[in-house]
Symmetry: C2
Subunit: 137 residues, 2 copies
């Protein structure tokens, strides 16, 4: 998606293009796997303050527009990243917390199975696999 096309997208739906929204999107883009808090902190470094509640509202909006997605990588806050960067599956070690990303084709058999058995459309972006990594087993 180009810089201007999502501006159009917003306006077409009656939403407005605000500095806060641009800053939040840039932070999501730059940070990768960032929590709302982290995004807020990052945005505040760029002089113009943004309230945490605006960050929540903006993330909700951007997610609705399909520009970002979130995943739960642990027990705390969810992490957000660009939907276009989301073509991977998260693998999280519950002992050391290490986060790996693996090729989505590893889950293809699962996706296909759910499709044929349940008619279920898996949201691969949101999938997180917990377990123990090589070092922690």
């Amino acid at each position: 998606m180009t810089e201007t096309s999502w501006h159009e997208e917003l306006r077409a739906r009656g939403y407005r293009v605000t500095p806060q929204r641009q800053l939040v999107l840039e932070a999501v883009k730059a940070l990768e796997h960032a929590t709302p808090e982290e995004i807020c902190t990052r945005v505040r470094e760029t002089a113009r303050g943004v309230n945490i509640s605006t960050v929540y509202r903006t993330l909700e909006l951007l997610e609705e527009l399909g520009m970002v997605t979130h995943t739960h990588l642990g027990h705390g806050a969810p992490t957000y990243h660009l939907a276009s960067d989301a073509d991977h599956v998260h693998v999280v070690c519950r002992v050391c917390g290490e986060i790996s990303e693996v090729r989505p084709d590893l889950v293809q058999p699962l996706v296909d199975g759910l499709e044929s058995e349940l008619g279920f459309a898996t949201d691969v972006h949101h999938l997180t696999v917990f377990g123990r990594c090589r070092n922690c087993r």
Copy 2:
């Protein structure tokens, strides 16, 4: 695990067998996929009150002992169930909230792939797949 063997297990580790712990375990067994709140409510029906913080502490203990596990089936509180009942994967529709359980062998290719590629030991019990069900796509 028999009724008495986990009593032994507790005592062997220096923990005590209390009515609260027995009631919480029974509630987890009976309710399946229950949140701490729901477990607390259920236990309170059996006359003897149990505080919500005791429920949290007990679930943590039972999980450490490997008797129960939890999963995140949505944005709210986690749900607990007996570890021995955990031989299934949860599939959750993000539109209607419907929860299905599927055979663990559907994820076997994923588990094997993570094992061989990363040396990663997947916790299948904790795996939840989000997406859209047949009716909601």
